[in-house]
């Protein structure tokens, strides 16, 4: 299958390993991966911060960059949600029928949706001999409804010891600009998230959103928490001794 990679601006600059992992994983599964060079940012940040005109401009550029793609795969639930859930709203707010139509044409999938629903795989042949816990990001769990797909993929990873995260459904407090605009509340939230993560005794906390992971990881790093954050794709890309 021909897969067009959608690598969020945030991931491009701060977490390039995630995009490389998705490339390696999909190629290992026998698919043809491309990276449309016209992509920059989906406009999520502008939309959720209230800069709706600017978001519409970025959404138009995004739909042009991915026009005609068979399947668009994003290792970021919030960016996939922006395209799938917010673009129709962005188009409505901008009264732009052409954008609404263009957005409707886009077949965008969050990585675990694509693996489980489109490719029909849960065992991707990965090996990762560590204790891991999973944080279901709000956009993946609520907006996209990926449900237990990430967990099914994790359970099939050889050597991986999956431990349940207490109060997993509670937001980590990132929320994009919220982390700055309401820094104190945001920190109060991530403090509890970090406590739950550390209570699991996991070596690694993973998610399908590097935004949340930057937040949880940023707090763990400041506290020398002794737990690593990793995007789920990087775990799935790992292969070990044959």
């Amino acid at each position: 299958m021909r897969v067009a990679l959608f690598v969020a601006c945030f991931d491009d600059a701060l977490f390039p390993a995630t995009g490389r992992a998705v490339t390696a994983l999909l190629e290992r599964l026998g698919h043809d991966v491309s990276y449309p060079p016209g992509q920059t940012c989906c406009g999520q940040m502008h939309w959720t911060t209230g800069y709706h005109r600017e978001a519409a401009g970025l959404a138009r550029a995004f739909t042009a960059a991915f026009e005609g793609a068979e399947a668009i795969v994003a290792p970021s639930a919030s960016c996939a949600a922006a395209v799938r859930d917010a673009y129709p709203r962005i188009a409505r707010a901008a009264r732009d029928a052409a954008l609404a139509r263009a957005a409707e044409e886009l077949a965008v999938y969050e990585l675990t949706e694509f693996l489980v629903d489109v490719l029909g795989v849960t065992d991707v042949g990965a090996y990762f001999p560590h204790r891991v816990t999973y944080h279901p990001s709000c956009q993946s769990a609520r907006t996209l409804g990926v449900a237990d797909r990430p967990l099914r993929l994790l359970r099939a990873v050889k050597g991986l010891d999956l431990v349940e995260l207490p109060a997993a459904q509670e937001c980590c407090g990132f929320g994009g600009a919220f982390a700055m605009k309401n820094a104190d509340v945001s920190v109060a939230m991530v403090a509890d998230k970090v406590r739950h993560v550390r209570d699991t005794g996991a070596d690694v906390v993973c998610a399908v959103d590097n935004g949340c992971l930057a937040h949880i990881g940023g707090a763990l790093s400041r506290l020398r928490g002794g737990v690593r954050v990793m995007h789920l794709a990087e775990i799935l890309a790992g292969t070990g001794p044959a």
Partner: protein, 491 residues
């Protein structure tokens, strides 16, 4: 009566609980007001315990099989009520008048306060009993009555505690801390010190004895309303303590104050709403007291019935095709119970209208977004969506939050001096509109960020980003972006 009654959450000292709204200094932004709340350990403990208790009650009484159908029906009923609001309100006025009551229309808070104060004066009362009412808080009714020389006797447990604490020599205190409430009662309610510390039954009994006298002596009562049934002119009130029923039945004059959006077309609609509200309010399948009151009846209950219908920004909200969803609200507070922000800040930073996620979308619509306090409310959310999941009338709160954020940004777009944020966001959009510009900017940003880092981490950032590094690190960006890696690989 319980120690933690359901209903609108207002602890002692919520801004606006006393004075007139908008009076005095400008209220602070959410983030500023939240700081004091976050530092209040007693409040934090109470909020955590409250949220845990509701979660427990909810999981103990699982949702009925037709819950999703009920939510959809509730949404449709409330939407229908709002769609034909003008007609339903006229029908309501006709029905109330026919039943011997009187309807008063108040365009704004000041007019509503004037009407209620006038009615109390006309009844010749120096004291009113009052049950919990979000609208009374919204319009600053208590302050207005006090200024008119009328003593307001709060009869809801939480409000009674707040009122006793307000002018307590020991200073404003408790939220739901039983030990502190017991001390307060011992000081303020004669003969109420009995019972072991922390015994909710003893506290309830003390409040009950105190309130009984107030009820028996009262000539005028002021209440809110959960629903107004247009076809019969009936006020419907749900509560867990029984004090509102006393207010509805004992005094000679009954004054109900309600927002115009509380109207529902028909009695049949109550079938759905009376299933949705109790479970969403407290996690319990039923509410202890459901009272309904229609006009006046000779020899039974109040001899005068007044219904004060308040607009105060609601018509404006109704004209907003996204924002109007907020008016569907049936006041259950389920969104507060699941909100991770509210669980840490409590109600005070949201201001006097409504707290929690619903307050964040209702207050800016009712009061406008000119002031920093109201303008900050739509941003007081991570958009996690937990609220939308539980809303019994399916208000898509994150959608309205984002919509209102847009309104705040638009209202500030054409200022003579642009905000730093506008400059930044415009600059970012311009940069990202072109892949080459974007690439160059990321290259520059990466170089700069790597210079700021030590050991792969950035511990301090300047400007707006400094808020991030107050308590969190940022990983240093790797030297090669994904984009650069891709083009190197495909050269």
């Amino acid at each position: 009566m319980t120690g933690a009654p359901p209903g609108p959450r207002t602890p002692a000292g919520a801004p606006g609980a006393r004075g007139e709204p908008g009076a005095g200094a400008a209220p602070p932004k959410f983030a500023v007001a939240a700081r004091a709340a976050l530092a209040d350990t007693g409040l934090r403990r109470g909020l955590r315990a409250g949220a845990a208790a509701v979660r427990e009650r909810r999981s103990a009484a699982p949702e009925p099989a037709d819950w999703e159908d009920l939510r959809e029906a509730g949404r449709a009923i409330r939407d229908g009520a709002l769609l034909g609001l003008d007609a339903h309100l006229e029908e309501l006025e006709r029905a109330v008048t026919e039943a011997g009551g009187r309807v008063h229309w108040a365009a704004g808070a000041a007019e509503a306060r004037r009407i209620v104060t006038g009615l109390v004066r006309a009844a010749g009362a120096a004291e009113v009993v009052k049950s919990t009412s979000a609208v009374a808080r919204e319009i600053g009714l208590n302050g207005a009555l006090a200024r008119a020389g009328v003593a307001v006797r709060e009869t809801g447990f939480a409000e009674l505690v707040a009122q006793l604490a307000e002018d307590d020599p020991e200073g404003p205190a408790p939220y739901r801390d039983r030990a502190r409430i017991r001390e307060l009662f011992a000081r303020r309610l004669p003969g109420a010190a009995g019972g072991p510390p922390g015994d909710p039954a003893a506290l309830a009994e003390a409040a009950r004895l105190h309130l009984r006298e107030r009820f028996l002596g009262a000539r005028v009562a002021v209440t809110g309303a959960n629903f107004l049934v247009a076809e019969t002119g009936t006020v419907v009130l749900l509560e867990s303590e029984g004090n509102a029923r006393m207010c509805l039945t004992l005094p000679d004059t009954l004054i109900c104050v309600a927002g115009i959006e509380k109207v529902v077309p028909a009695w049949a609609d109550m079938e759905v709403l009376l299933q949705l509200l109790p479970r969403s309010a407290s996690g319990a399948p039923m509410t202890p007291y459901v009272s309904s009151w229609t006009g006046v009846t000779a020899g039974d209950g109040p001899r005068e019935f007044h219904l004060v219908l308040l607009d105060n920004g609601r018509t404006k909200a109704l004209a907003d095709e996204v924002g109007r969803a907020a008016l569907r609200c049936i006041g259950c507070s389920a969104c507060l119970d699941v909100c991770p922000v509210y669980e840490r800040t409590g109600p005070a930073p949201y201001g006097p209208v409504r707290a929690g996620p619903i307050g964040a979308i209702l207050t800016p619509q009712l009061r406008g977004v000119e002031r920093a306090a109201e303008a900050s409310l739509p941003f007081a959310s991570t958009l996690c969506g937990a609220c939308a999941d539980v809303c019994p009338v399916k208000i898509d709160i994150p959608e309205v939050l984002v919509h209102l954020r847009g309104r705040v940004v638009e209202s500030r777009r054409h200022r003579p001096v642009p905000t730093p944020e506008l400059v930044l966001m415009r600059g970012l959009a311009w940069t990202m509109a072109d892949p080459r510009r974007y690439e160059a900017a990321v290259r520059r940003g990466t170089r700069w960020a790597r210079l700021m880092s030590r050991g792969g981490r950035i511990r301090r950032l300047p400007g707006l980003l400094g808020k991030w590094t107050e308590a969190r690190d940022l990983p240093a960006p790797p030297p090669e972006t994904f984009r650069a890696w891709w083009s190197r690989r495909h050269r």
